[in-house]
Symmetry: C2
Subunit: 328 residues, 2 copies
């Protein structure tokens, strides 16, 4: 029985968002626009130097699940928090949007993971992630019943950073396929691909049905410099590849089928982070509802356009209504 349309597995994080100027990034040796992993000491040091902040639940895959729920999809999530205030916040927000989240919180070890987000005046986000309890996600947290009951299991590439999570990841893929389910992944970011290129390639060839990657990520995965070469390389390795290209839209490839999807015009471009997460939400909603690849891609574009029109990585309006209006 299919109980869930989508099961997401990711790093459970709370975003801590502050304004910062360029000189702060330079002084702290932070690569603007990137996502860096930091250890707890460095996170504490950076936090002490940052300005006043606002906190909200984050995590790439969790943001996708928020979009998926907003579209009307039935979702579940697996991720590791600690039994602390941020863990409670993360769990509340997930549950409140209607996503089932039953992974037990850790009661020993590191606190709930956090992502220090520095927003520069040009609206770019520079992220420093302290994975914390997320590194404690292990094979034991992969609820086999849940994987088997979910039409698609969606994995966050960032999970390749914590070593135990990577094993959990492969275990989930095996369980899903054994139950005749589909497995999807997002490569998450090009630096993440560089850190784990060989493993990502093996995974895409052996375990992945649906791949999400942006241009930088897919070029890095195959170490090529032209988009068309990357497109040819990925074709045939997985059932569907969704390659996103910012304002150039996206390309969805499945065997001989190629759909070029325009970017949806955004009402404003305020903050481009999180566009990939919402594209995945929209596409996977269309896919699980069997709307066909072109419509699924369009849904991804609509969800992505909503998210870049405001600060924050979770939808501010009902994506279900938005899609209904746009696809009329």
């Amino acid at each position: 029985m299919t109980e869930y349309d989508l099961l997401g597995i990711g790093n459970a994080l709370v975003d801590v968002v502050a304004q910062a100027d360029e000189s702060f990034l330079a002084k702290e040796h932070l690569d603007k626009g990137g996502m860096m992993l930091v250890d707890p000491d460095r996170a504490t040091q950076l936090y002490a130097r940052m300005g006043p902040a606002v906190e909200s639940s984050g995590g790439s895959c969790a943001n996708t699940m928020a979009g998926f729920a907003s579209l009307g999809g039935k979702g579940a999530y697996i991720g590791k928090t600690y039994d602390d205030v941020f863990g409670t916040v993360f769990r509340h927000d997930m549950t409140a949007i209607g996503v089932s989240f039953t992974t037990p919180a850790a009661t020993a070890g590191a606190p709930t993971g956090r992502c220090l987000v520095l927003v520069t005046p040009d609206a770019q986000r520079t992220m420093c992630t302290c994975l914390g309890a997320a590194t404690a996600l292990g094979e034991a947290d992969i609820d086999a019943d849940l994987v088997q009951a979910s039409a698609v299991t969606y994995l966050e590439g960032y999970l390749f950073d914590p070593p135990e999570a990577k094993k959990a990841f492969v275990r989930a893929a095996e369980l899903a396929h054994a139950a005749g389910r589909k497995v999807a992944i997002t490569l998450s970011d090009s630096f993440c691909v560089e850190r784990h290129r060989d493993e990502f390639r093996a995974l895409v060839e052996d375990h992945i049905d649906i791949l999400f990657a942006n241009e930088a990520e897919i070029l890095s995965l195959y170490q090529v410099s032209r988009f068309d070469d990357a497109l040819q390389a990925v074709r045939g390795h997985c059932e569907v590849a969704c390659l996103t290209r910012s304002e150039k839209g996206s390309v969805v490839i499945s065997g001989d089928e190629v759909h070029v999807i325009d970017a949806e015009p955004a009402t404003a471009i305020i903050d481009s982070t999180g566009a990939g997460d919402q594209y995945a939400a929209g596409f996977l909603y269309g896919y699980t509802k069997k709307r066909g690849l072109a419509v699924a891609g369009r849904m991804g574009s609509i969800a992505a356009a909503e998210i870049i029109s405001h600060y924050g990585a979770r939808p501010e309006v009902s994506l279900a209504e938005l899609v209904r209006r746009k696809l009329r």
Copy 2:
């Protein structure tokens, strides 16, 4: 030696802000636009029923201190947090804006206080406060050196809710006056005045130099129905009374001196909560910088207009620059 222009003493709270519709308020029996005190069980229950939320440091007096710091004033704060994640968040945000905050966090008892804020589609805020660790603020937390080194000690009326804090409050006022300093208070909200009317009246007569109240609060304090009657009642009870009247501006009374201050036109009226906190910040900045009551009142209006032009109870721009431009 005057080390600080302003010392604020208040309930240290983290705001947990979610959208809600009118039917949610009705179902939960919440008075729209009001601030209710809730116990931990009720807070947990309400939180579980609320939508996804965003967290940020709050607390009426702490918000005033944020505005005061943004104006360029030198401030310190006394308030009680618990040694948990929200306590760390509150301390960070206070320190990051340049306000000295050295009250030790509690290591036993209730967690850091929180205010569940429900924002209805008409942009009104309904608040349910679980005081938590804030109730542990006691006389021992009143750093006598700090009070004596501060030109004005500013007290939040909400401190009359936790009984120990009320004692701390009186102790701070006595210390300040013994050192030849000034004591200011805001009545916080009309329901708070109703809960503690007699004590507030005694306090205003015996201990307060500078009083902040809005129209509903001052009417409730003197149990009169006309603003002019309230104005006559308060005159002479304290050195300065600042009575705020929303879009009608404010009236500053000091002995025979009466200044009618226009409301500053706001670029937009998005969220009126926090206007009183920022009016106090602006007025106290002008007052401590000896700019005269009329200019101080104008500074209050400018700070209040900034805060109602956006969501959130802390300034989003430099109030120092804003005031410089407006008073040119």
